[in-house]
Symmetry: D2
Subunit: 443 residues, 4 copies
C-alpha cells in the first residue's frame, strides 16, 4: 500500500499509487533507460551500453529506504539512484557503467520523473472531472424547474431554480477543468539540460539527444531546459488551487443544503462512530479539506520560485512533496465530489417548503419593483417596511399583509398581488442563464 493513514483523506488509492515509491523509481529508471537509448541512437554512447542499462533498470532492485537515506545527505534522490543503477550495470558489464546518466544532471532525472508521474495523474483527474461534469449536467437538467431559495450571506433571497444553481457549479467546474488541462499541457515537458543547462557534456549532439529523449518519453521538448524556472509547474499548482476552490464551494453548498434544518439535498455520506441516527457529508468534508489545504500548498510552491541561479538551494527541494500533495488533494476532492453528486438525493418539496417558510418576506424586493414606480421609492419603502413589521410581529404572511393594505391595493392590480408570492413568477432569466451555463463546453 502506498497511501498513509495520516493522509487517507488527502488522496485516493489510484493517485497514491502514482506518487508511490515504486512509481517514482519506475519513472526515474524510465528516464535513464530512455536517455541511454536516445544517446545510443544518436551515436553518443554504445548501443550495448544502452541495452545493459535497460536490463539493469528493474524497480524491485532498488531499495527506497536506502535511497531516501542517501538523499537526505546529498539533497537529491537522483544521486543514490544513479549510483545504484551504475553499480548494477557495472556488475553485469563494466563498460556499460561508464554511460549511465551520461550527460545528464540530477535535476534532469528528478524533474522529468516528476513530469512522468504528473502525466499519469492527469489521466485520473480527467476521468473524475468528466464524471463530475456529467453528473452535474444531468442534475441541472432534472431540476430546471425545481424552485428553491437563493441565499445570500446565508439569508433567504428571492428564488432561483436548483437547476440554475447546479448550472453555476457546472460552469465553474468546466472552467476549472479546462484551466487544469491547459496547465498540464504546459507543465508536462521534458527536463534535460545537463549540469549547467547547456548540454555541454554532449558536445554537438545535445539538442538531437534531447529531441530523441522527448520522443522516447512521449513528452514535449520545450524551447530550453527550465532548471530554475519553475513557472510551468507553478501554473499547474495554481490551476489546481483554483479548481479545488470551486470544488470546495460546491461541497460547502451541498453540506449546507444537507443540514437537518434545511434538508434540501443529501449525499450518501458516512455513518457516525457513536450516533446511529447520523448521515454525515463525508464527501463534502473531503472536498472542503482539499479546498482548505491546497491554497497553502500553492503558496508554498510560489514561495519557492525565486530559485538561485541555475539550480536553487531549498526552493527546488521544497517542490516534490508540495506538488504531489496538490495534485493528490485535487484528485481526492474530485473523486469525493463526483461520488457525492452522482448519488445526490434532492428533495424538491422541501425546497419549495423552505421558500414558503419565509412567509412571503423573500418577495419584498419584488413588491418594491412593483410599488416604487407607482408610488416612488420612499413611499414604497415605508409601506413594505410596515408590512414586514406586521408580518414578523404577528406571524402573518407578507403577501397577504401587503395586499390588505389599502394604499397598496389602490395601485397594484389584483393579478400582480396574487402572484406576488409565486416563486415561478419571479425567476427572471433563470432558465436562460442556466442554458447558457450548460452550453459552456459546446460554445
Amino acid at each position: 500500500m502506498s497511501l498513509r493513514l495520516f493522509e487517507s483523506l488527502a488522496t485516493t488509492e489510484l493517485l497514491a499509487e502514482v506518487f508511490s515509491d515504486a512509481s517514482l523509481l519506475a519513472s526515474m529508471l524510465r528516464f535513464e533507460v530512455a536517455l541511454a537509448r536516445a544517446e545510443a541512437r544518436v551515436g553518443v554512447i554504445p548501443v550495448a551500453a544502452a541495452d545493459r542499462i535497460a536490463d539493469a533498470a528493474v524497480v524491485d532492485a532498488f531499495d527506497p529506504a536506502a535511497i531516501a537515506r542517501v538523499a537526505r545527505a546529498s539533497g537529491t534522490i537522483a544521486i543514490p539512484l544513479v549510483e545504484r543503477l551504475t553499480a548494477r550495470v557495472r556488475a553485469a558489464n563494466p563498460d556499460g557503467a561508464t554511460f549511465v546518466h551520461w550527460g545528464a544532471t540530477s535535476q534532469d532525472v528528478s524533474d522529468t520523473a516528476l513530469v512522468l508521474c504528473l502525466v499519469r495523474a492527469r489521466r485520473i483527474l480527467v476521468a473524475d472531472h468528466e464524471r463530475l461534469a456529467s453528473a452535474l449536467r444531468r442534475l441541472s437538467d432534472q431540476h430546471a424547474g425545481s424552485v428553491m431559495l437563493a441565499r445570500t450571506l446565508l439569508q433567504p433571497a428571492p428564488p432561483i431554480t436548483f437547476g440554475l444553481k447546479v448550472a453555476g457549479w457546472f460552469g465553474a467546474v468546466s472552467r476549472g477543468g479546462a484551466r487544469v488541462d491547459s496547465a498540464f499541457n504546459d507543465a508536462c515537458v521534458l527536463q534535460f539540460g545537463g549540469a549547467s543547462g547547456t548540454l555541454a557534456a554532449l558536445g554537438a549532439h545535445g539538442l538531437t539527444v534531447a529531441e530523441e529523449l522527448a520522443r522516447e518519453l512521449e513528452l514535449t521538448n520545450p524551447d530550453a531546459p527550465w532548471h530554475a524556472h519553475r513557472d510551468r509547474l507553478a501554473s499547474l499548482a495554481g490551476a489546481c488551487g483554483v479548481y479545488t476552490g470551486t470544488l470546495g464551494k460546491i461541497a460547502r453548498d451541498v453540506a449546507l443544503l444537507m443540514q437537518h434544518e434545511v434538508g434540501e439535498v443529501a449525499e450518501p455520506g458516512g455513518a457516525s462512530s457513536t450516533m446511529p441516527h447520523k448521515r454525515n457529508p463525508a464527501g463534502c468534508a473531503i472536498a472542503l479539506a482539499a479546498a482548505i489545504r491546497v491554497p497553502g500548498l500553492v503558496s508554498t510552491f510560489l514561495s519557492g520560485m525565486p530559485q538561485e541561479h541555475e539550480r536553487g538551494v531549498g526552493g527546488w527541494h521544497a517542490e516534490a512533496a508540495t506538488i504531489a500533495a496538490i495534485v493528490q488533494a485535487t484528485g481526492a476532492a474530485l473523486a469525493a465530489l463526483a461520488d457525492a453528486i452522482e448519488a445526490l438525493s434532492v428533495d424538491a418539496g422541501r425546497m419549495r417548503a423552505n421558500i414558503a417558510a419565509t412567509r412571503g418576506m423573500v418577495f419584498a424586493e419584488r413588491a418594491m419593483t412593483l410599488l416604487a414606480p407607482e408610488l416612488g421609492r420612499d413611499v414604497a419603502s415605508r409601506l413594505i417596511a410596515r408590512a414586514l413589521d406586521v408580518t414578523r410581529r404577528e406571524g402573518h404572511n407578507f403577501v397577504e399583509t401587503l395586499a390588505a393594505d389599502a394604499e397598496v391595493a389602490a395601485v397594484l392590480a389584483h393579478a400582480d398581488l396574487s402572484s406576488l408570492g409565486t416563486p415561478e413568477a419571479y425567476l427572471g432569466a433563470a432558465e436562460q442563464l442556466r442554458r447558457r451555463l450548460m452550453n459552456i463546453e459546446r460554445g
Copy 2:
C-alpha cells in the same frame, strides 16, 4: 496622495491611484450611471431618471470616511454609496431617486467596480512588462558571448553565457506576462445579476439590460452572473503569483551577482543611511518583497473561494483588499525590476575572472566526459578525484594538474587538454538555446 507609507514598497504611484478611494468611487458611480443609461435605453426606467442619476454621480460629493464607516456596519461599501447617491438624486428630483441602482444588488456594483479598476491596472502592468521584456532582450543580445559561471546550489558549475542566463529570464517573463494577460481577459467581465443572480427585478428585460450595460462599460458580458463563483479572479491572482515568482527569481539572481565578492552585475540601487560606501540592490529588494508577499495573498484568495450559496459570508468580504494588494505588488515588482534591468551594469571581465578563480576545477565534469569513454568511468573518476585533491591542497590549477598526469596524457590528445579549461569550448548548445528562448514571443 493615495499611497500609504506602510506600503510604500508595495505599490507604485500609478497603481496606488488606481486603487485609491477616488478611483473606486468613480468606478462605482460609473457603474450606476451606466446601469441607469442602459435601463433607460431599454425602457425599464425613464430617461430623465437616468439623466438625474448621471448628474448626481460626482465623485467629490461622496465622503470616503463616511462610506467606510457604514460599510463596516453593513458589510459592503455599496450600500452607503447607493444611499448617498439616492439622496443626491432625490434632492434634485424625487422621481429619479426611485430608479437609482434599479434591479441591481450590492455585489453587482462592487464587483464591476473592482473589474473597472483592474482594467486600468492592467494597462500599467502591460507597459512595465514590455519595458522589462525589451530590456532583457537587449541585454541578452549584448552578452551572447559573455561567458560566466553557472551556479547550482550556489556552487560553481560549468560555464554558460550571460546571454543565455538572461534569455532564461526573458523566456519566463514572456510566459508570465502572457498568462497574466490571458487571466485579465477572463477576469475583466461584467457582474450583473440582481439580488439572486436571476435579474428577476427586471422582468423580461434582464438579459437585454445586461448586454447594454456591458457595452456601456466596455466590458465583456459573461454567460451568467458569477456572484459566488470567483474562479476568474482567482486565476488572475494565481497568474500574478506565478509571474511575481519569476520576477523574484530574477531579482534574487541579480542581488546575488551584485554581491561584492561576486561583482558581476550592479543595479543602480540605493544608498545607505549610514554607510557612504554602499550601493544597495533596492530594486531587487522590492521585487523580492513582492515575490514573498504575493504567494500568501494568492493563498488567501484561494482560501476564500468556497463561498456559501449565492453570496458568501466572509469569503467575498476578504477579496477586495487581497486582489488590490496582489495586483499592486505585481506591478511594484515589475516597475522596480524594469528599472533595475534597464540600468544594469555588467562586468564581463569579472565574470570571466570568476571562472578562472575556480582554478579549472569547474571543468572536472568535462574532463570526465573526455576520459571516461577512454578509461571507463571508474578509472576516470579516480584520476580526476586525485587531480582535484592535489589542486585543492596545493593551490594549483586543475587543468594543468590533470595534464601533468601521465595516465591522462596517455589517452587525451594535446588539443583536448589545452582547451579543457577554455570556457568557450564547453558551452554546448548555449547559443542555440538562447536563440530559441528569445524567439518565444515570435514563435
Copy 3:
C-alpha cells in the same frame, strides 16, 4: 482619513489611524528625537544638537508622498526621512545637522517606529478583547440552561446548552487573547544596533545609549539588536493568526445559527441594498474575512524570515505592509465580533424547537447507551436502526416508536423511556464543563 475604501472591512478607524502616514512619521521622528536625547545625555552628541533635532521633528513638515517616492528608489523610508530631518536641522543650525541619526542605521528607526505603532495598536486590541470576553461571559451565564442541538459535520447531535457553547468560545478567546498579549510583550522591544548590529559608531557608549534610548521610548531593551532575526514579530503574527482563527470560528457559528432555517440567534447585522426583508450577519462577515485573510499574511511573514546575513534583501522589505495588515485585520475582527456578541439576540425557544424537530432521533445514541448493556451492542443496534427506519419513513417520533417496541419495553424501565427524549436529561457534564471553561481567567 487614513483608511482606504478598498480596505474598509479590513481595519477600524482607530487602527487605520495607528498605521497612517502621520502616525508612522511621528513614530520615526520620536525615535530620532529620543536617540538624540539619549546620546546627549550620555555625552555622545552636544545637547544643543539634540534640542535642534527635537525642534525640527515636526510631522507636518514631512511630505509622505515625497518620502514614499524616494523610498522606492532606496528601499527604505528611513533614508528620505533622515535626509529631510537633516535638512531641516541644517537650516536652523548647521552643527546640529551632523548629529541627526547619529550611530543609527535605517533599520533601527524603521523597526523601532513599527514597534511604537504596535504598542499603540495593542491597547486598541486589548480593549476590544475585554469587551468581547465580558460579553461572552454574560451570554454564557444567561444561557447556562438553554438547551440546543449540538451539531457535528452540520448534522444534529445530542443536546448541549448554549451556555456551554459560548463557554467554549470564551475559553478559546481567553487563550487567544493571552497568547497575543504575551507575543506583544516579546515583540515590543527596541531595535538599535547601528550599521552592522555592533553599535560600533558609538565607540564605548553603544550599550549605554541603547539603555537610555529604550528608557526614553518606554520600550524593553533586548539582549541584542535583532536586525535579521524576525522571530519575535513572527510570533506576534502567528498569535494574531491563531486568535483570528478562533474569532472566525465563532463568527461562522453565529452566521450558521442565524440562518433563517435555524433561527437561533441574530446579530444586529446590516441591511441589503436591494432586499428590504434582510438582516445580514455583517459583523460575522468581517470576522470571517479576517480569518480568511490572516493565515495567508502569517504565511507571508514566516516566508520572509530567512533573511540574508545582517539585513535581508526582500524578506525585510515585505514585512511592514504584512504586519500592519495582520494587526488591523485582527482588530477589525475583534471589534466586529464584540459588537455582534454584545448585541446578540438569542431565541431559546427556537433552540428547543430545533431539537424537537429531529423527532427524537438525536437521542438514538442515548438509546444505545441504555439498551446495549442490557441486550448487547448488536441487538441494540438492530432495534435502534429499525426504530429509526420507521421514524424516518412514517414521520413518527423516534422515542415513541422505540417505546412501542416490545423487545425494548422488556428491558427498559418506563422512567428511562419517558425521559429518553428530554434534552435536560442527557446533558452529561455540560454545566460542570461550562463552569470550568468560564473560570479559565481566574484559574
Copy 4:
C-alpha cells in the same frame, strides 16, 4: 519503511516512523484500551470487557489499506478502526464487544492519537534542538575573535565577529525552541468529550473517566473537550513555523557564506551526480526547503480553524496531514542543520581576506564618525565621497587615500588614521552582545 521518496527531504527516518501507519494505529488502539481500562476502573464497563479489548488491540491485526478505504467513505479513520476492533473483540467475547469505544466519539480517538504521536515527535525534536544549540554555542565561543564582514542587503558593511553572528543564530534558536516547547505543553492534552462534548453517554461518570483516561495516557486533562477549538494545535503549528523560519535564516546564511566566491564556511554537504568538483550545501537545502514549506502549511492549519459548531466539515479533516507535515519538516530542518553546524568548517583567514578585499571602503562609516564631529557632516561627506571615488576608480585603498588627503590629515590624529582600517578597532559592543546572547538560556 514508512517514509516515501516523494518526501524524502521532508522528514527523517525517526519522524517518518512516528507518523507511520503502525504508529498511528498503535496510538489509536492505545486510546481505546486506555478508555476501556479507565471505564472499568470507574465501574462504567465490566473489567472483563476491558481485558478483552486490550487483548484484541494488536496493531498487526489491522489492515491500513482497508481502513483508509473506509475512511474516505466515512470521513474518518476512527470508524473503520473501531469496527474492526469491535469485530475482533466480538469474535473472542461477544459481551465485550458492547463496550468498545464506549461513550467516545470518533474525534476523541483521532485527536488523542494525534496528540500521542506528537508527544513522541516532541522527544525527537528536543534532542536535535539540543544538539544544534550545543554546536552553536561551541562555534560562537571558538570564533569570538574571528572578524568578518557584516553584510546588509548582501553588500559589505563594517565588521562583526563570526562569534557574534553565531550568537545571533543561537539566540533565535533558543527562543524558537522555547516557543515550540511551550506550545507542545499546551497542545499535548487529552481529547475526550463524546458525541457532543458533554460526555453525556457516561452519565455522572464522564469527568471521572476523563481524569482516569488522561492518567492512563500520561496526558494532561484540559478544562474541557476541545473538539472544534483547534487553537492549541494551531499554536504549535505557528511555533514550528517561527522556529523553521529561524532555521531557514541560518541555512541561508551558511549557504551564502559557502559560495565559492565567499568561501568562509563549508558544511560537509553532498556530492553532485555529474560534477566531480562540487560540494553542495545539502543540509542547508533541506532546512531552507522546510522554511519554504512550513509557512504554507501553517497557513492551511490556520485557514481550517473556523470549524462549524461542535465538529467541522472539512476544516478538521484537513488537519492530520498538515500537522504531520509541519512537525516532520521542522524536525527534518533541525536534524539537517544540526548535522551541518556540528561539522561546519570555518575559514577565519578567508573572512579576514574578504574584509581586506573591500580595500578599506567598508570603513567609510567609521571615517564619517571621526570626521563629522570635527568638520561637520557636510564637509566630511564630501571628503569621504571623494576618497571613495578615487579608491574605486584607481583601485586604491580607501584608508590610505583618505590619509593622503590634507584636509583629513589636518583634523585626524595619526593613531586614528592608522587604525581606521583595522577590523578589531571597530567592533563596538560585539563581544558584549555576543555574551548577552549566549546567556539567554541561563538568564
